[in-house]
């Protein structure tokens, strides 16, 4: 489709929010142009496309910008209805579908509100505050595992595999190793089913292609720590 070729993603290699968009488009079989931003020297295009936040990721579709990763994911579902959906489609008046969508949105919001914030504190802090963040992260992972239950995926996805919550959460699996090192816990011990889910996702092409290795992420965390004077 001519429309597809006009998908451009402004992104930064290690950003889990950008990775959500890459994985979503890969799952949907959508071709896109990836443009790496230098966050220390943001492009005019980025600043014009997202003047309010000046952040990546930004998806440009036929030149029109969409910002905020979860907004982008929903946009991809809405704009490309012929592709495998991330959220169950809102069939008119189907309360079950609406409920599944609400549940998915709730948990994606949980990942944004809780996991990302706690993860940042894990590498930024030292001593007891860092240990406290570690305990908090373990609790967050246990909560997500409880929601996953016995399922293979968080579900709702049209491909029968990755749904909205899976795509929202999976980029953070590349950070699990870093969280473990900073927080002094083991994801396998704290949330074994979630760890299994992470491995399962890692075997999916779109995920394997677009997530960095945990070691690379840990190196990046080291760079961040130096930059912010945390040793």
């Amino acid at each position: 489709m001519a429309e597809e070729k006009e998908l451009v993603l402004l992104d930064f290699w290690v950003s889990p929010f950008g990775q959500r968009c890459r994985i979503a488009m890969a799952e949907k079989g959508l071709e896109f142009e990836y443009r790496e931003e230098d966050l220390g020297n943001k492009s005019d295009l980025l600043l014009r496309s997202n003047p309010v936040h000046r952040k990546i990721p930004v998806l440009l579709h036929a030149g029109r910008p969409v910002s905020e990763s979860l907004v982008i994911l929903q946009y991809l579902d809405d704009a490309f209805p012929g592709t495998p959906h991330l959220l169950p489609p809102a069939n008119s008046g189907d309360a079950d579908a609406a409920y599944a969508r609400a549940t998915a949105r709730f948990w994606a919001d949980y990942v944004d509100k809780k996991l990302y914030d706690c993860g940042s504190r894990l590498w930024r802090l030292k001593g007891e505050p860092q240990a406290a963040a570690g305990r908090e992260m373990a609790e967050i992972l246990r909560t997500l595992e409880a929601e996953l239950g016995d399922r293979e995926f968080f579900g709702g996805g049209g491909g029968g595999r990755l749904g909205f919550v899976d795509v929202a959460l999976v980029p953070f699996t590349a950070w699990f190793y870093s969280y473990e090192r900073c927080g002094g816990f083991s994801v396998e011990e704290v949330a074994p089913r979630l760890a299994a889910w992470a491995r399962r996702c890692g075997r999916i092409d779109s995920v394997a292609k677009h997530l960095p290795s945990p070691e690379k992420v840990y190196d990046f965390v080291g760079v961040l720590k130096k930059k912010y004077g945390v040793e």
């Binding site: 905020e68 907004v71 946009y75 704009a79 008046g93 609406a98 969508r101």
Partner: protein, 233 residues
Amino acid sequence: MAGGGDELKLLGMWASPFALRAKLALSFKGLSYDYVEEDFKNKSELLLSSNPVHKKVPVLIHNGKPVCESQVIVQYIDEAFPDAGVPLLPSDPYDRAVARFWAAYIDDKLLKSWLQASMCKTEQEKAAAMKETFAAVGNLEAAFKECSKGKPFFGGDAVGYVDVTLGAMIGFVRVGEALHGMRLFDASRSPLLDAWLDRFAALDAAKAVLPDTGRLAEYAQMKQAEWAAAATN
């Protein structure tokens, strides 16, 4: 359609802007529901079991199934009752993305910095937080121009998702005016939002659920005193 087999219950708290958001959505959709007022110092079993993750209001319970987080609730109401009232979200994919973006902005930036400002201990901190808040107001003023396209609401001719999301703040905007003589959206700084607020608040569906400004002002003063006392301990 509500009625018949549909059972709707809303767990809320009269002063909560987030609970108000859910009430506004239900009101604009013309949906009837049972309302349960929660006491934050003594949360009900129903609230704790319906929202075990956050233990917060609002929670919408539809035929026994709980939906949590105000923006998730509003979208749920829109999708589960498509024949009720008008659709809150537009049908065009790009317009939907724009609406979702600004709804997220209202909570992540505007409300967040404003709440921070009200809890600041020093005048300096408060001024810094208010500066951020007014910057967010400026962005939202531009957003209104973009979304409304000359029409009365963010949603165009009819109230939409962003209107309901922002409408939740009306109570405290008016309290700010009553207590401090300062209106968050004022005629010089943000004339479009200033006009929007009065227009929105005058609608029957909004009037039916907006809290009494006097009562809310007393509540705000009480909370401020509590925070100030906690800060000096």
